[in-house]
Subunit: 205 residues, 2 copies
């Protein structure tokens, strides 16, 4: 048993994985959690391709590296703190594709229209990440590789009507990660109207 | 303590709420969970406006009803099973806005670019829905009202750089909801390549 709020408060992107495989029953629990997410009209337009083949993972890793070096790194390097940049660098240069499992997440446009797709896919991805965390697995939400949508589609055989939307690595982390770094709620929540910070009433002053 | 997988497997859209207010400490836990989600570059572009004012909720309800009657219902009526259509009808015609709390979720374009916004906002929304479920609250992911983005923006004072992306009702449900109806994992997961169903190895035949 894993407390819901404890899982939520320790979920964090992992970009360094041990090579040991992930047990299929654990994977089934994680993927099963993803399929419980809400979606527009309950159409469940998600598709998960579970990639463990070493050659396929290496090819996905090549695409990721190309997307990173081909522009994403230049965009990010002035925006990220040095520690985070180093982590993302490590992930994009091979850390992500070294995970024993890569889940390529697709959105099926025969089940939901493209404009509303993200609202139906990313809740499922978040369930997947949280479930991985609950099981002690490392994971991360990455979209970088989808910059090469056609190549990624070819690699995992996605038909034209399924859009590649994310790649989620899963595996046992090389080290335990600290808690996620997030701004406090009062910086993000507003009372009745934007600009009036929401601080719970009845809180100690 | 609330088991993570039990929460995930009972989360379901609620569209009928009792009028009793939600305790602010419970709201703080639910909103706090939302802020723990991952986001591109960890920029945390989410904004939550917590609306409890009766007049504001009625106006949001009016917008929702207009969006529903103005085209969304016509689009959905041939696509939804009669039971689900009746539920959505009830929600759009006043069930959602009768919730004691409406969270208007915005995406801050000064923190993340618009194309990547959904991948950074809907994981936080999903955390919010799951946390509500963990606390026994009803909730739903709705985007219908964002069809009237300018009006919704005005109602809660969102500045130009914050995009309204969802409205999440929170409150105590009028009745207990059954488990969500979802297709089985093997209909959604593929092994190595699209088209080969992923069924966990070592499962009982």
């Amino acid at each position: 048993m894993s407390d819901f709020f404890a899982v939520v408060h320790r979920q964090r992107a992992c970009r360094s994985f041990r090579p040991e495989p992930v047990d299929e029953q654990v994977l089934a629990a994680v993927l099963g959690a993803a399929t419980m997410a809400p979606s527009a009209e309950n159409r469940q337009p998600w598709t998960f391709v579970v990639v463990t083949d070493e050659d396929s993972r290496a090819r996905i890793g090549d695409l990721t590296r190309r997307a990173w070096r081909g522009g994403a790194r230049t965009f990010s390097e002035s925006r990220l703190a040095p520690t985070l940049l180093a982590e993302v660098d490590h992930g994009a240069e091979g850390g992500i594709s070294a995970a024993p499992v890569l889940i390529v997440v697709g959105g099926d446009t025969s089940l939901g229209h493209e404009g509303a797709m993200a609202a139906s896919i990313f809740p499922a991805v978040q369930n997947l990440l949280l479930a991985a965390t609950a099981c002690g697995l490392g994971s991360a939400l990455t979209t970088l590789t989808t910059a090469f949508a056609a190549e990624l589609r070819d690699l995992v055989g996605l038909p034209e009507h399924v859009l590649p939307m994310a790649v989620v690595p899963l595996g046992w982390p090389t080290r335990s990660l600290g808690p996620p770094r997030r701004q406090p709620l009062e910086a993000k929540a507003h009372r009745e109207s934007y600009g009036a910070p929401w601080i719970p009433r009845g809180s100690p002053a």
